[in-house]
């Protein structure tokens, strides 16, 4: 049996291309998410149509442009051009100051600003608009300070766990989850399906090794791979992204191992229902990857989804694991907070193992 496991390792590690991909993946992902991807708004191109061009409007404009969120675009000479510019995607927002702004502010005690946002990307639009409103609101506060206002209620805002609002914090746990899930489940299922497809599974089955040994041997290299990947990601996020593991590293690694076992059993199950490698891949891809990315709470919060989807996401193992990772890594919590999720993952693992054994038995008969 030892010989078999060694052979499996050679098989994989000798394949340089796959090795580069398997180890390069986590590195690239961490780098991407750490440095390239974010949902934050930076340097959004905006246009300003100022019908007044007086002290107040200029003050507000300066405030907006010096915030770092916006860059002035000169593409919009007049309101008629807005649609065209939006269509080109050159400008995200147009701010229109009405005429005689300062004068109206003095006399009528109110002047109007129009914020026109390109909402084809609603998230960016929302953020851009709320930043704009916040800045205008700030200006408003300053303006009002000059007048004696009866009462003010001030809000002290505190951002827990992530004061700098770095999007990295949300992504790293997700990346770990996805990579563990996919490497283990996908690769395992394809590897076993390959033996089936090429007919070499029969050869293995008639050997003195028991089926369970064959499976263990096939699966062990991927466990190691996935685990190493998890370590690489954690190291990278600590050293390169400055994101530490607040809680117990040991606990995190133990939970990762459990999750890997669960993903393994899922991979084995997929291989038992696939008749070819292509099918195993497509199943893993469509049945696993997309839902993992979209329904696990990785990028899109689960609680904002329609209720049926929320219920469905309960059967997605990554959903629970992400909670575990976030709790340990970012919130620094101990086991007593995550025992429920741990139990669920363990339960899922057992479930898939049982299913696989059953399918395997049927196949053998």
């Amino acid at each position: 049996m030892r010989g078999f496991i060694i052979k499996e390792f050679y098989h994989i590690f000798r394949d340089i291309r796959s090795m580069v991909v398997l180890f390069g993946m986590p590195v690239i992902q961490v780098l991407l998410f750490g440095f390239a991807l974010s949902t934050e708004v930076k340097n959004a191109p905006v246009a300003i149509i100022d019908y007044s061009n007086d002290q107040v409007t200029r003050a507000i404009t300066t405030k907006l442009l010096s915030s770092g969120f916006f860059i002035l675009s000169d593409q919009v000479p007049g309101e008629g051009h807005i649609e065209e510019v939006f269509r080109h995607g050159k400008v995200k927002e147009v701010i229109v100051f009405e005429s005689d702004f300062a004068a109206k502010l003095e006399k009528d005690r109110q002047a109007g600003i129009q914020i026109i946002a390109d909402a084809s990307d609603p998230n960016t639009a929302n953020l851009v608009v709320s930043y704009t409103s916040a800045i205008i609101g700030d200006y408003q506060q300053e303006y009002l300070k000059g007048m004696s206002l009866p009462v003010t209620v001030r809000t002290e805002s505190q951002m827990m766990y992530n004061p700098a609002l770095k999007s990295v914090f949300m992504f790293v746990p997700g990346v770990i989850t996805i990579l563990l899930m996919l490497i283990t489940a996908m690769m395992t299922s394809i590897s076993i399906a390959r033996e089936n497809e090429l007919g070499t599974m029969e050869i293995l089955l008639v050997s003195p090794m028991r089926p369970i040994q064959i499976i263990a041997g096939k699966v062990l290299p991927y466990v190691l791979l996935a685990f190493t990947n998890a370590l690489i990601i954690l190291l990278l996020s600590y050293f390169v992204l400055g994101m530490p593991v607040k809680g117990s590293l040991l606990l995190l690694l133990a939970e990762s191992l459990l999750f890997i076992v669960m993903a393994l059993s899922l991979g084995i199950f997929i291989s038992t229902v696939s008749n070819s490698q292509q099918m195993a891949m497509m199943l893993s891809m469509f049945a696993l990857m997309l839902p993992t990315i979209l329904l696990s709470g990785f990028i899109f919060p689960i609680e904002n989804m329609p209720v049926p989807l929320q219920i469905f996401s309960n059967i997605m193992p990554p959903r629970w694991f992400i909670i575990i990772v976030k709790s340990i890594m970012i919130k620094g919590l101990g086991f007593q907070y995550i025992w429920k999720e741990t139990l669920i993952i363990a339960g899922m693992a057992l479930f898939f193992i049982a299913l696989s054994i059953k399918k395997f038995r049927i196949r053998l008969e």
Binding site: F33, T39, R109, S157, Q158, P163, S327
Partner: protein
Amino acid sequence: MVRLRNLFKPVTNYQSPVTNYQQTRKLRIILYILQKEFRQIFRNKAMLPIIFVIPVVQLLVLAFAVTFEIKNINLVIVDQDHSVASRQLVSKFAAPPFYHIKAYSDSYTEAEEQLKTGKAHQILIIPIQFEQDLQKESKASVQLITNAIDGSAAAIMNAYGNSIIMDYNQDILVDLSGGVDIKPPIDIRYSYWFNPELDYKTYMVPGILVLLVTIIGMFLSSMNVVREKEMGTIEQINVSPVKKYQFVIGKLLPFWFIALFELGFGLTLARIVFDIPILGSLWLIFGVASVYLLATLGIGLLISTLVNTQQQAMFLAWFFAVVFIMMSGLFTPVDSMPEWAQDINIINPIAYFIRIIRMVMLKGSQFQDILKPFIAIAIYAVCSLTLAVWRYRKVAS
């Protein structure tokens, strides 16, 4: 397929010149390959639902999942004042539909537990002297604590909370002035173009369509060719007079058709089920998609020339796919990426297509608006296909 072939049978009582027959011969060979491919694809009963049904189901299900909207904020109130004023403030939070007061607590520690376990998103702390401060000092402060692991969501939740508190502030002012409505000095009017409801589905669905089509183009095609390599049937083809380009066309065309078909199907669903606008020209969308598919199929074929097993093909395709997809602007905006990352997108075909499809579908952009990204895709297609065909060797050296 028999019917198709009859189209190319030379007419028997016409002495066709040799060249004419040669042309139809070349075409015939491609048709034979196509016939075999389609037969194999459709005979694989297990794969059919995976190729056709699952992507569609995914589209339907996932489109509902992808949203950044904050629909529900779970709030814990720590009211240390228990005064009329504080209760009024609390009631303002009870009003909006997206705020849900999970619990009332007396201590911060207890409230923090709720944040830790993830049961609550925000904590509002009203300190002891709240009402007194308001009446005597004319100013008071409250604390709003938000779970900021999801930075953007936190920013929005914080903004919501702040605006409710400002509303409360406004109420007090109105009360004090005897009911006279004190208007805020700056009146802001908001206008959201192309997507007034800020419906995230409108934004995401075109992107998901691109994703589905890309997966077929890159993965299925590469694995299909490598499968022949693995099974050994490619040798029988290499030893025959079939030319490289005939083989390539025969292998890739079926997936080109399937992908376009799925695009059409997906667009129909998008229109009917999600009410996604298709402002621009459908011809334009399919035209661009056709060229885009050539690019992704080219990449898939190129991958197949670099590997020997289906597993390797899958790894490699997956690697490129994930990087390209993440950088393409599907989930996170391209404009939020740093300069160097956007530069890398120059070689990312997915980024171009996503941009184009969003512009055409949601804003009704015309051909001249999307000219630049379209040319990029076209160049990409030519390069990847040429490279792939060049690399494919009938004769091993």
